[in-house]
Symmetry: C2
Subunit: 147 residues, 2 copies
Amino acid sequence: MRLNLNKIITMQLLKETLQREGLRYTKQRQEIWNELRSSNEHRDAEEIFFALRKRGLEISRATIYRTIDVLVKYNLIDKLDIGDGRARFEYNDKYLHHDHLICTSCGKIVEFHNDEIEELQKKIAKQHNFKFSHHSHQLFGICEDCK
Amino acid sequence: MRLNLNKIITMQLLKETLQREGLRYTKQRQEIWNELRSSNEHRDAEEIFFALRKRGLEISRATIYRTIDVLVKYNLIDKLDIGDGRARFEYNDKYLHHDHLICTSCGKIVEFHNDEIEELQKKIAKQHNFKFSHHSHQLFGICEDCK
DNA sequence: TATTTTATTGAGATTAAGTCTCATTAAAAT
DNA sequence: ATTTTAATGAGACTTAATCTCAATAAAATA
């Protein structure tokens, strides 16, 4: 298959989300979304800025931050706090969602997914009459190598 | 009971933790710990600073931040990110631990505790050979009043 | 108890993540 | 093609958090 179907589908997702919310499908939003989408890393705003610059794109930091806010708000990316001073973000694949286990000694990040926890989260939100949208869930400890 | 036993016990906990780690049991650390301990609020560094000031204590912001780092490191308080730009902290009562459900519209915070999730967290850390210390767990959604 | 050692503190300078402003640009509606 | 209005860029601005270093005070030692 020559066609990048996955990319087409996710770009369509962005377009539809923005249209649904009455927002514009701009070149910059496409580039930022594509950059986050095409990598599994946990990236901060500055890294995204330099990644786009490296690809020859002129884009403002303000636009990075503004676009990130939109993507988080509509659940296209997840925000993640690993305890250094910056917010990190990653593509939210709803069908392969994961949380994070972080070593407080070396900073290593292990991703995990647990359906039981996801179910319990929905249940708890429902009990309190909340319309559940997303969660932030980090476990901290000392990894095998650092023990 | 005239004696504030609860306070004596928690002050002892601070003293023993600091001694165990070779750190000093200072007046400032006692005051900050006492301030956090005596309230259930989710407070940021600035609020703690002003609370102590109001009680006539001269203390530096730098000391607040440094002490908070120590208390978080040794699990005496929990760090919490509700999505505004500041870190918030609260007394970590190990026997009455709770997580947070946050309304993204009005900012309301509902506390909850779920033993099943706690057990799953320990299990996941163990599976990855991590020595589990603590977690950060926030659920986001829209509350009943905002729907 | 007095002295010594060394971690901690205070005050303010510094850093840097993130936000804001406003003139300009470009989506998308007409 | 024209109009409308949201989005962008560049850099100033804000502010949470960190850093510096001389002064202070815990706690160890004599």
